[in-house]
């Protein structure tokens, strides 16, 4: 069984996580972020004490079969509504900076 490693998060790891989360973090703020990570992950490390061998992850409060429905279109035809909150919408599309060079 894989367990949590006691390794601590360094500034480089914090930078990588911020990148993965697509949140810009200034270099000057990375050490404090790494420290927050270490405090939170240090706290959750207690989970290592629990014997979870053979335990299945919980899936629902009481056994329940998901409801089924006809596989059909139930909504649509509301382009204006979908675009109404967009910061930049043009000609029926969401507009974003150029993606392909």
């Amino acid at each position: 069984m894989e367990t949590l490693s006691p390794m601590s998060i360094d500034v480089e790891t914090a930078r990588r996580v911020a990148k993965l989360a697509r949140i810009k973090v200034e270099d000057a703020d990375l050490p404090a972020l790494a420290q927050d990570f270490n405090r939170i992950l240090g706290f959750v490390e207690q989970l290592n004490e629990v014997d979870v061998d053979g335990v299945e992850p919980m899936t629902s409060v009481t056994p329940m079969r998901l409801k089924r429905r006809q596989d059909g279109v139930t909504a649509g035809g509301m382009q204006d509504k979908i675009l109404s909150n967009a910061p930049d919408a043009r000609e029926g599309f969401f507009a974003v900076p150029k993606v392909v060079e």
Binding site: A21, F37, I40, V55, P57, K81
Partner: protein, 493 residues
């Protein structure tokens, strides 16, 4: 005569039906109270025009004799609920300007039943917080004050809901609870707050935080009001596949107050080191009240309790990092101003850096880390297994004959706003008694039960069996009847 805005739902319903009052008058009383409540910062978007129109329509229905229980009742709606055409931004800068084109299932059901919306209520950003200090709208202030008049937190994340109900700005409010966000603020302001069984209430149109834990519920002045309001909020919804297709009973009819012969469990693991004496004393009083009501009290063990907060702080951030990935500056809300040559990645990174507050960023990044390659099993899957063991603790207790479980609602009374924590984990400890209930998916209710030495409210929590909110509220009623909690904050705002 009691001010109209100070009525309970049950009182107002009966007076409305008898024709003694109108919803228009009741609503105006609440709107006046809202106007004078700026210092509390509980209401962040007033919806006075909508409220007046809804009140008018409710009076017509009342006249026609077609009035459900909630008809004409003024409510506050937590900013987490999408309300059509009305700002709904989860107290976050990233949803600045967002006006949904649709109505959440909960608010639609309440409005279909004739309820009136007086305004959108403040909260912690994306419901992440226990003190309502992470909101883009600023802190909410508790209407209760301690001996030295220090401004206190109303708790969080449903702090605006708690403050608004305690200050009589509305008769009741919607809240949501992911780790204690209904029950902790309810306890901090001396009102009743119910988190229903996971799946009892549709999550559709409620801005998601941690989808396997989030559940909406009523925050009210009495247990009876929670029963009335839950009935209007609950039920299967095809738009939420996790909402349960089981009948919604008449919860109010189940409030007999008779709990003779029921077995109430007292879990020994909830007796924490360093717990204040007055919390301990309140818990003992609760035990005595239930004994007096004819219940049998037994000591029980929920052995995995201490692992609930650590499991929560893996699972909730993991789900949040996934849910909040949608805030990318493309479809709604804030988009950062971009520099020359910035592409989509810079747009995402700058938008999210500007739009999210510190606590939200912290949790999204922790979630990203625990889900990242190489750590998924070690953190996320392990936490999900511990969650199963926490649920099994409760299953075992109920199988052994326990009908409900009594615990304190919070480890302290409301604390001062602006308290500095050098460690985010310290704030997380607020949810130590409530978070187990979310992990196990069970119903839990906080009921005001007494005052501390500074005159601040303290609450007890009762935890029930899945889908048995009615029986749970009946036990809560037995506490309410005996605690005789009638204190109100002195008006200073």
């Amino acid at each position: 005569m009691t001010d109209l805005n100070a009525l309970t739902i049950a009182e107002a319903r009966d007076k409305l039906r008898a024709g003694d009052i109108t919803s228009v008058d009741l609503t105006e009383a609440c709107l006046t109270a809202v106007e004078g409540s700026g210092a509390l910062n509980a209401v962040v978007h007033s919806t006075a025009e909508i409220a007046r129109a809804q009140a008018d329509a409710a009076d017509q229905r009342l006249k026609a004799g077609d009035a459900p229980d909630m008809c004409g009742i003024p409510l506050g709606i937590k900013d987490l609920f999408c309300t059509e055409g009305v700002a709904s931004q989860a107290a976050s800068g990233i949803l600045n300007g967002f006006k949904p084109e649709y109505e959440s299932t909960v608010t639609r059901q309440l409005f279909d039943a004739g309820a009136v919306m007086v305004g959108k209520l403040n909260m912690d950003e994306f419901a992440m917080g226990s003190s309502n200090e992470t909101s883009v709208y600023g802190n909410v202030v508790n209407p209760w004050r301690g001996a030295d008049d220090t401004p206190l937190t109303p708790g969080g994340s449903s702090g605006g809901s708690a403050s608004a109900v305690a200050a009589d700005l509305c008769l009741a409010a919607t809240g949501t609870d992911t780790g204690g966000s209904i029950r902790q603020p309810a306890a901090f302001v001396g009102i009743t707050g119910l988190k229903p069984t996971y799946g009892r209430v549709s999550r559709w149109g409620i801005i998601a935080f941690a989808s396997s834990l989030d559940q909406a519920g009523p925050m009210t002045k009495t247990v009876r009001d929670s029963a009335i309001m839950l009935k209007a909020m609950a039920g299967h919804d095809p738009m939420d596949s996790t909402s349960a297709d089981i009948p919604v009973p008449d919860f109010e009819a189940m409030l007999t107050g008779d709990i003779k012969g029921q077995t109430i469990g007292i879990p020994r693991e909830y007796r924490m080191d360093g717990m204040p004496d007055e919390i301990e004393a309140l818990w003992a009083e609760g035990r005595a009240m239930l004994e007096d009501a004819g219940a049998k009290i037994v000591d029980i063990s929920l052995p995995h309790t201490k692992y609930a907060l650590p499991a929560y702080y893996v699972i909730a951030p993991a789900e949040a990092s996934s849910n909040l990935a949608r805030y990318d500056g493309v479809r709604y809300g804030h988009r950062a101003k971009l520099g020359q040559g910035d592409g989509v990645t810079e747009m995402y990174e700058k938008t999210r850096a500007e739009g999210f507050g510190a606590e939200v960023k912290r949790r999204v990044m922790v979630g990203t880390y625990v889900l990242s390659a190489g750590f998924y099993d070690a953190y996320y899957n392990r936490a999900r297994k511990v969650r199963a063991l926490i649920k099994k603790d409760f299953d075992d207790a109920f199988a052994a004959g326990v009908d409900a479980i009594l615990t304190p609602a919070t480890p302290s009374a409301a604390f001062p706003l602006g308290q500095e924590f050098d460690d985010p984990v310290q704030m997380y400890l607020n949810d130590v008694f409530t978070v187990t209930v979310n992990l196990a998916g069970l119903p839990g209710i906080a009921v005001p039960a007494g005052l501390d030495q500074n005159g601040l409210p303290l609450g007890l929590q009762l935890i029930g069996k899945p889908w048995e909110e009615g029986a749970l509220m009946n036990v809560a009623q037995a506490i309410e009847d005996r605690a005789g909690f009638v204190s109100k904050p002195a008006k200073w705002w």
